[in-house]
């Protein structure tokens, strides 16, 4: 764990989390009753580290990310738990308090760089707008905007300040979004699948850039992705989600090398990139996601788990330690003796 954090405004010290999520639960109200989209999520975001939230569609990784910056849909309700960030609990924060926090201590990069910039304002104007809290002159703001465009390695940044978003490629626009997010000097940056809309060779560039800037600015990052390879490349820690629960967390090294939860194991096995020998028959995870209107009794993964046994159907497993900081929500882990 790196202790060299150059971030001046960060109140957290290494060892204590920057953000502590405790038993967070979120429901979405629908016409056919509430969907229990997130249930008892507990996670720590450590200072100066990148946490990957990984899982398949419908696992709740985006909902979790949005709840950390107070941008959940209006039909969503935080129905339990806490999000501790410094002195505050963000779970019950009023909108005016959120506005003081968002774009200052917590910033976000969205999935689609095509729609997250204002099409009728130039890049420069938008990079100046976002500094509205700073009591500096417009000239100073413009020169900071230029400096950040250089940091995200936009070619010919001075002339790009006067470009409109549609004149830039997708990769360039995502770089602008990263520059905007970092201009606010956030302590926590939330990135929701920021490279999914990009081509593979551009994704590499953006991942390397994010890593470099995160180290330079010393902020923490929550990186949402469905792509295991990207998470392995970028993140320090990982939380694997399934059907609204975090089933396993730990450092990327340990979780990807020795996954403990059967879902993590299956997910890793399904990634064609992890299959060394060429094969015509690819592994799958048979079965479907449970209906989160009526969350089934017992372990959430029981219906698709190859290692299921009686206890899994009767009650829901707790979180059990595996090794080091790695923990998993699985009875198989609990029943095994710790290896010497």
């Amino acid at each position: 764990m790196s202790a060299s954090i150059s971030h001046a405004s960060s109140s957290a010290t290494p060892g204590t989390p920057l953000m502590q999520i405790d038993a967070l639960s979120v429901d979405f109200d629908t016409a056919s009753g509430p969907i229990h989209a997130l249930r008892h999520i507990s996670l720590s975001v450590m200072p100066g580290r990148i946490l990957g939230l990984v899982g398949e569609s419908g696992c709740g990784k985006s909902s979790l990310a949005y709840s950390l910056i107070g941008l959940l849909d209006t039909n969503a309700r935080i129905c339990g738990g806490a999000i501790r960030f410094g002195e505050q609990d963000l779970a019950g924060l009023s909108e005016s308090h959120w506005q003081a926090l968002r774009g200052r201590r917590i910033a976000m990069i969205f999935q689609d760089p095509m729609t997250s910039l204002n099409p009728v304002r130039t890049i420069g104007q938008q990079l100046i707008d976002i500094q509205y809290r700073d009591r500096t002159s417009r000239v100073q703001k413009r020169s900071r905007a230029l400096e950040f465009l250089e940091q995200v390695r936009i070619p010919d940044p001075a002339s790009r300040l006067d470009s409109y978003p549609h004149e830039l490629s997708g990769g360039m626009r995502q770089r602008v979004c990263i520059a905007m997010a970092l201009l606010t000097r956030p302590e926590l940056l939330i990135a929701d699948e920021p490279t999914t809309a990009l081509d593979a060779t551009l994704e590499v560039q953006v991942i390397h850039l994010l890593r470099e800037l995160q180290q330079k600015h010393g902020c923490s990052v929550v990186f949402v992705s469905h792509h295991l390879g990207t998470v392995a490349e970028l993140c320090d820690d990982v939380a694997v989600m399934y059907a609204g629960e975090v089933v396993e967390t730990g450092s990327v090294e340990t979780v990807f090398r020795t996954p403990a939860h059967p879902y993590t194991q299956a997910l890793l096995a399904c990634d064609p990139a992890s299959i060394r020998e060429a094969t015509r028959v690819l592994p799958t995870i048979p079965g479907e996601l449970p209906d989160l209107r009526q969350v089934p009794q017992g372990c959430i993964f029981q219906a698709r788990c190859p290692q299921v046994f009686d206890r899994c159907r009767q009650r829901s497993p707790d979180i059990y330690p595996v090794q080091g900081e790695q923990v998993a929500r699985c009875f198989r882990v609990a029943s095994e003796e710790p290896s010497p």
Binding site: D199, E233, R257
Partner: protein, 320 residues
């Protein structure tokens, strides 16, 4: 003679009208696909890989007659590059397409049963309940799903409906444009395994258009890597994956990272972005982004070098 022989395929798009082009002193057209050749035998799978704007989808559309092209496309020995409407209607009994957007490519007004039997009815064959049940069974969907509509399907189910539609007429050639885009990893395998089963049974030839090289390694026999409307390397999948000879192939291979934490630092970062096909770079068109480019790469257009099982267009190929 192969089932499909494509030679010197060229696809131009209009950029300006003739007058405006004269006024701007620029060409009125540009080539999205420039001189692509390949062939494919029955029962085999070819992967065409490239990034957005490489022209891979244009190639796919020309193979099913939805995109005017020049050069030669011979299907079963017959030249079809200039086939007319009536001829294409007959050809589409043999050549089918699986579309990229699984839900968008299904009519919202038709039930699943009528969607999957629509190709049969268009070709004047019986397309009743029995046929619908047979096709649903073939793609592993429950019978009851026949009564549903596109918006009621999950992504994986919609893909299976797409497979059923494409295979309704027992085609001999199937074109799949990003057959698993937007699918979760655990479902992606199901669709590809299904295509593989069907190919084993019917010997259908498959062209898969994708940007995902990790998939291509497992499911294709041959692969063609496309950059800026041209193939830069093509041949037997195994040979190319073991030893890429073109630097772009190498970069693409490393750009699909594996979740193995030990493999973490092996990614090659290319500089810049793909240039526009409107203003093609001189010499080797990849030279501006190539980590190994030498001075003369900017000047001399590389020829094809043919090796056993494969060919590449690079003057300074990576050692094998």
């Amino acid at each position: 003679m192969s089932l499909l022989d494509v030679e010197h395929l060229r696809i131009d798009y209009r950029r300006y009208g003739v007058l405006r082009a004269l006024f701007k002193r620029e060409a009125s057209r540009f080539s999205a696909v420039a001189d692509v050749s390949f062939s494919l035998d029955a029962g085999r799978t070819l992967g065409i890989v490239g990034e957005s704007g490489s022209g891979k989808s244009s190639v796919a559309r020309s193979l099913i007659g939805l995109q005017a092209a020049r050069g030669s496309i011979r299907y079963d020995g017959r030249e079809i590059v200039r086939a007319g409407r009536r001829e294409w209607k007959r050809l589409r009994r043999d050549i089918a397409m699986m579309w990229q957007d699984p839900i968008g490519s299904l009519s919202p007004r038709l039930s699943v049963a009528s969607l999957i039997t629509e190709p049969l009815r268009i070709q004047g064959r019986p397309g009743g309940r029995d046929e619908a049940d047979r096709l649903l069974k073939m793609v592993g969907l429950p019978r009851a799903l026949g009564a549903r509509y596109a918006h009621q399907l999950s992504g994986g189910q919609a893909r299976r409906v797409g497979v059923a539609r494409a295979l309704a007429l027992d085609p001999k050639l199937l074109i799949c444009d990003e057959p698993t885009a937007g699918l979760d990893m655990s479902v992606q395998g199901e669709i590809l395994n299904l295509l593989n089963d069907i190919q084993q049974r019917t010997q259908v030839a498959i062209v898969i258009i994708t940007h995902n090289l990790n998939l291509v390694r497992h499911i294709t026999d041959e692969v063609a890597v496309m950059y800026l409307g041209r193939f830069v390397e093509q041949g037997a999948t195994q040979a190319i994956f073991e030893h890429p000879r073109h630097p772009y192939t190498e970069a693409l291979l490393s750009a699909n990272p594996s979740p193995d934490p030990d493999a973490r630092h092996g990614r090659i970062e290319l500089s810049g972005e793909m240039p526009s096909p409107v203003r093609r770079p001189s010499g080797c068109e990849f030279h501006g982004r190539c980590p190994y480019a030498r001075d003369d790469c900017a000047v001399i257009v590389p020829d094809w070098t043919h090796e056993p099982e494969r060919a590449h267009a690079c003057r300074y190929p990576l050692s094998s």
